[in-house]
Symmetry: C2
Subunit: 399 residues, 2 copies
Amino acid sequence: VAADNRKERLPAPLDTVLEDAVEILPEGGLSSRLEQAAREGRQLRLKLGIDPTAPVVHLGHAVLLRRLRAFQDAGHRVVLIIGDFTARIGDPSGRSQLRPLLDARTVAQNAAGYLEQATLILRDDPDHLEVRHNSEWLEMEAGELLSLLRLATVAQLLEREDFANRLAAGKPLSLLELVYPLLQAYDSVAVRADVEFGGTDQKFNLLLGREIQRAYGQPEQVIVTLPILTGTDGQRKMSKTFGNEIGLSEPPEEIYGKTMSIPDGLMEEYYRLLLGEDPPPLRPRDQKHELAYRIVAWLHGSEAAERAREHFERVVVRKEVPDEVPEAVVGAGTVNVPALLSEALGLSRSEVRRLIDQGGVAVDGRVLPPNCYELPSRELVDRTVRVGKRRFLRLRKAA
Amino acid sequence: VAADNRKERLPAPLDTVLEDAVEILPEGGLSSRLEQAAREGRQLRLKLGIDPTAPVVHLGHAVLLRRLRAFQDAGHRVVLIIGDFTARIGDPSGRSQLRPLLDARTVAQNAAGYLEQATLILRDDPDHLEVRHNSEWLEMEAGELLSLLRLATVAQLLEREDFANRLAAGKPLSLLELVYPLLQAYDSVAVRADVEFGGTDQKFNLLLGREIQRAYGQPEQVIVTLPILTGTDGQRKMSKTFGNEIGLSEPPEEIYGKTMSIPDGLMEEYYRLLLGEDPPPLRPRDQKHELAYRIVAWLHGSEAAERAREHFERVVVRKEVPDEVPEAVVGAGTVNVPALLSEALGLSRSEVRRLIDQGGVAVDGRVLPPNCYELPSRELVDRTVRVGKRRFLRLRKAA
């Protein structure tokens, strides 16, 4: 979370919100672009590209969204680009030949879900949020696309670290994948982006946007890189892939509980990047409660934050069963526990199996042993199952 | 010119004409494809892709064309593909950012010129020669093109030696260029090619054609690689780039004279690859006369060959001025010699300047000194200029 290499001063409150930007390029570019927009009486257009194949928005994204929101509040416009075209072309990562291409309907659903989560932070009035789909401009002719491919060299694209690493490791890297950054860069041309924000790991893509805009005779977007939020494991960047994420639309109790689970060492990073403040002078445990409360209040309001705190105190601290416990119905005979719990709680079966194996599932306080995936119905009916630390389920016999 | 790794036997006369094929893949594939076509009562489709940005067809191409002609004579069909789409997209080589894209008209002219030259060897009746343009199928949508790019990995394309070398040498290699082999490979899908011939340096592209056909669910083309003809310098492969080519539609005297200029060591290669015979048991000089005569006769008939031989004997051997010398008109005042000669003889000005600098231009037997590019009109009028060894021009005063 370093910002010492930045010399540019911006008008408040944008200055505060970009205090911890890692780089703003070109130097002085953002303030002059702001001045230019003010002179011309127009909004800045801030590009935000989203990938509708990964519809979970988490606190890692919130680092960016919070800063974009500040620009909206200052009168500017976020242009949210849904990568529907690229999603329909298929898996760009080459990680799986078998992963199915997303159909238009799934893409639309995912995009709607993304938007719903992102607007927990972003303003969503039409003056400040423009939603676009990249199929609008990427459904071009092959000839146009090939002209775009002339604008970048192979060496340049292989400078992207993940590409270079995968090539060096002999892992498959499809030609399509090499082309994706160019398509993203072209999005900047299509929406005439003034500014693009991204994590420091996005710098390559952001710079390519500038280059392609220049090739198309447009003013080059100012790019802003921001620190990448560490996940709840305290080890790796927050990502659904690593299972260390806190999703914006998770239940308030989950957000609260997960925040309480982060290592003490992340306190300053979370306070700075998510709330724009230093941690208050409290004991670590109280700092964390305050952080959890503030994050829930930010996303879901203070009433939800209040309830989440109470829930946490009762269930995790005092180990009581919460007041309200969801119910599920079990049939007769042998019951498949992972199937039952995954359906009732929205977890995957493999997550439930892992929890069982780790001793994280208990029936009326009795912990299930590893590999215990099937139980007779009578051992479940009228009992309360605890799944992980904070989830409960009351089981009833089918009528 | 090795063929010892080939085990396949084909019906005569195809067997003879492919005696010196370097590889036929898959092994046994060509004979079984021939049998299959015979069973189904259909022609084999032999793909021949041409690049309309390089409209000169030379003896290097004739190595392939001669063999394709044999297949035509056996009843099969050559599908000649004019790369008009790719030519319009621009310079695939990345060698020059400034080289202009070819417009549709130039492409059409070049393609017509290519066809005229190629049909000095190929039969051009519609049953045996199908002419196609790759714009017919490459004018697709960007999405289709991107799906094509999914079918190859970067590592695979960088196996092509020239790509790997240029990347390693830090020379620019555009992404477009990496895509070209895939477009060429897709041509095989579009024309449902049964067979594709190429020089040994084309093996990568030919194999990629098989792979892309497989991905599109088509039977894979049989590929035949042939030795690459050495140019008149005896050093490098024949190519317009190296200026060591003998063009099929050059004047018979030029073809004859250039053939007489090749090193003795190329005799066997030229006889085998161009005439399909061993050199006759004659002295080297007579072998070469015979070769030159046979090549001209093949391309332009025996009458032209007769005249070319006489011309060579008179002008080169006995150093006489030929009977018929073209004429050109010079104006008054100072005359720019490179401009005059380039226009009259169809050479480039830089070629003429080089010839002057090398002592290869003489006026009435007096050799012009290096850098002598301008002469007073009176020193030229009513004189005969010799340009190189075999070209003459008679100069007259403007009326």
